[in-house]
């Protein structure tokens, strides 16, 4: 139990403090102070951007382009499959813990086709509560105290607290804008290969990759993935590849799975999401796919955390996958039709933002768009909040323009917040009427 890599110094201090507090406790026998605070693993992890911003954006008078969820309907056959399932009695009881059999079979078929390799539904796949649950299971299974995990900034905000909760150290590396700050496209945001190489050392357990990328919408190219893969292989590091937006890539771009690069399958856990694939974020189903010798540890975490995911939702999802699996060579397949639908929304959103004098960064994938708001020169220095500029801007925008977005510095480590605080993130997987309402606000932006 007591291994060399444990930090004995900290343990010693903790023990002394405990003994001290207990002796105080016994000397003041009248009232015992309530000594139950949070565990060390969650120290400092209590704040969460979504808890704050979703509450504010819930005001119905605000046009909500903040949190990433569709307000468009999921495809009707997906809803119908769930309605069918609701009538089947046995599907209301526990299913297989690591994933409902019909779902893991469907996933293995779809991904065998995509990856061009055999995927065993029972050993190579784990179904989790959203991709969020996959990230948690992967990190808890494979990351621990003493490890370092490389996180590319800006990042989906949960990576940092999850790595910390596992006792490990996040090591950040920012995407940097190629054209000296004047970025028009997500492809302009790149990693410096030398800078990246310097982040790897003998303690590096994993790198977290997110492609297509939230929040920039960057779709990592083969060359960029090769740089990462080469480093993973050289340093014998794992890759946690968050590919929830895998189907949402726009014309001229291709989503490439890093696990398909030579030498990568055996060191990569690839994460996917029903919420993003089928526009059903509220179903909270995701999956981890990888080699058995990694997935088996995720399964151990899963059997000790929530054991099984809801049965009816998994069955309905399996049926939806079969429908689309059969038409994977057909342009009508939802995997492709959704991205076509979103591409026009992307283009519309970009146009509106430009007309309002804002500088959007056109994403190659995903359903977010980041925007440089510094060009508006909104003076918020009188707001004596210690928060970064983009937080203040978004709050001001919600109050005065009734439009919500998410501040980009929420997606950065503390050192890089200054670099990104002029950007905010908009979500455009919204129905026409929502975008119409946003249009009215943006067209009238300068008229107030």
């Amino acid at each position: 139990m007591f291994l060399a890599s444990r930090n004995f110094c900290c343990r010693g201090i903790k023990l002394r403090t405990d003994l001290l507090s207990r002796s105080i406790k016994h000397s003041t026998s009248a009232t015992m102070p309530f000594r139950h605070k949070n565990t060390r693993r969650i120290e400092g992890l209590d704040s969460n951007i979504w808890v704050e911003f979703t509450k504010m954006a819930a005001d119905p008078s605000i046009v909500n382009l903040g949190q990433g969820f569709p307000d468009i309907s999921p495809p009707s056959y997906v809803k119908e499959e769930l309605a069918k399932v609701a009538a089947v009695d046995r599907l209301n009881q526990y299913t297989r813990g690591f994933g409902h059999p019909s779902l893991v079979k469907a996933l293995s078929q779809v991904y065998e086709k995509v990856c061009g390799r055999k995927i065993d539904p029972f050993t190579d796949i784990l179904v989790t509560v959203g991709a969020y649950g996959s990230l948690f299971s992967t990190i808890q299974a494979l990351i621990e105290e003493g490890d370092e995990v490389i996180i590319i900034e800006p990042f989906y905000d949960c990576y940092e607290p999850m790595v910390k909760m596992a006792g490990a150290k996040p090591v950040f590396i920012p995407l940097r804008c190629k054209n000296d700050g004047n970025s028009a496209h997500s492809a302009d945001w790149v990693l410096d290969p030398d800078e990246l190489a310097n982040k790897f050392n003998s303690k590096t357990k994993a790198i977290i990759l997110n492609t297509p990328h939230n929040p920039t919408g960057k779709v990592f190219t083969l060359e960029e993935l090769q740089v990462i893969a080469d480093l993973c292989i050289k340093h014998d590091t794992l890759c946690i590849s968050d590919e929830v937006y895998e189907w949402l890539v726009y014309k001229g771009n291709k989503h490439i799975k890093i696990a398909t690069l030579p030498g990568m399958w055996e060191r990569t856990v690839t994460i996917g999401s029903a919420g993003k694939t089928y526009s059903v974020t509220g179903w909270k189903l995701g999956w981890s796919i990888g080699p058995e010798y990694l997935i088996k540890h995720l399964q151990v975490v899963h059997q000790n955390t929530l054991y099984a995911c809801p049965t009816p939702l998994q069955e309905a999802l399996a049926q939806a996958f079969w429908i689309d699996y059969k038409r994977m060579d057909d342009p009508d397949c939802y995997f492709y039709s959704l991205s076509r639908e979103l591409e026009s929304k992307r283009d519309r959103m970009a146009q509106l933002l430009k007309e309002a004098g804002l500088n959007p960064v056109i994403p190659d994938g995903g359903y977010f768009m980041i925007v440089d708001v510094s060009t508006l020169n909104v003076d918020l220095s009188d707001v004596d909040d210690k928060q970064p500029y983009d937080y203040k801007f978004v709050k001001w925008m919600m109050a005065s323009k009734k439009l919500s977005a998410i501040p980009l510095s929420a997606f950065c480590g503390s050192e890089t917040k200054k670099q990104f605080e002029k950007y905010i993130r908009f979500c455009f997987i919204k129905k026409d009427s929502t975008l119409d309402a946003a249009e009215v606000i943006l067209k009238n932006w300068n008229k107030q």
Binding site: H36, R41, F69, A141, G282, Y293, H297, T305, Y307, P310
Partner: protein
Amino acid sequence: FLFHSLQAKMSRPVQARRLEGVDKNIWVEFVKLAATYSKVNLGQGFPDFPPPDFLTEALTRALGGGNHMLHQYTRAFGHPPLVKVLAQFFEKLLGRDLDPMTNVMVTVGAYQALFCCFQALVDEGDEVIIIEPFFDCYEPMVKMAGGTPVFVPLRPNPPKDGKLMSSADWQLDPVELASKFSERTKAIVLNSPNNPLGKVFSRGELGLIAELCVKHDVLCISDEVYEWLVYDGKQHIRIASLQGMWDRTVIIGSAGKTFSTTGWKVGWVVGPDRLLQHLRTVHQNSVYHCATIVQEAVAQGFQRELMLYGKPESYFVQLPKELQQKRDWLVQSLDDVGMKPIIPEGTYFVVADISQFKSDVPDVPNSDEPYDSRFAKWMVKNKGLAAIPLSAFYSEAHKNNYTNFIRFCFAKEEATLKAANDILQKWKHEKTS
């Protein structure tokens, strides 16, 4: 081959140390066995009858209602209609005001509620008292949180008149219990009604535990998933309602057990904000949201029950009535063939002593596997009847303390229980002929 190099490079294995000793899981093995061999499955605890119509109708209504936003994220700590009705319900039950936003949180089944409790409140070096026999996940969850499980057994005090034992006859020794509390004790896990025995802790027994919790400033994680399944007019008493306990107790509940819908995986915690705030932190860093639409349907189920509370049509009145009959049926079946059931006061499980059937499964000296486990495996393979060995619910060190008991689940259709009876009768006749 690179496959090996990842293993070789790490001077330690690729998996995190927190997984040490928590990889084994009885259900993975026994569920597979039941799926392969059983004709009658009284093993894993889930009903084979459907959830009540009003609940499945609520799901269908939610799906047909045209509100497609029910397919999107809801509030992370619990869908507002659900936390509101849970707060209303538990206000009634606990006799205190509850804030749905801070005193209630929804989880992915009671299982995830337990996980949040241990991760939020148990640190390395903390001790957690677990009463044996226990729902098996408590031990690995405590270990995964770096804690040390400290076990204290319920001890059987059989009635002198040779009558069948009741789960009430399994009791804690007060002195033994008190001796388990130390300066390092962070929490005690209470499960009442108790799985697997079906024991419903009395007010006196709860008072004993409460006194020790208050004296030693220890938390109570109170797993009450079977709260509605109590028989013979017994009452389920919530330890959080005892003096000094609200502030130090997290109550765990389950829609799966409450509404016979284990596959929906909706659970909850109820407790003081200063404890729940830490569970919220764990939750927001592990799963973040629970599925919306099942929460919506469960909320409607509770709204119906709130209106019908205490009335004969209430599901919480009807379900225990139906299950008591099933209990009595299975108890009779077991007793008839010479398996001695311990009559449960609650839950939908009955544990029976299979000593009289031991001749069918000879003892294997020096076997690693506890006898009852080998018996249960033999039984499902050869008789097609699935049940769970009691040793599954004991710590490693105590797995051989009670080797002759297996647990049956009676939340089953009449036809299933009848089929079980047929197997048992046939088996008995084969033995005597």
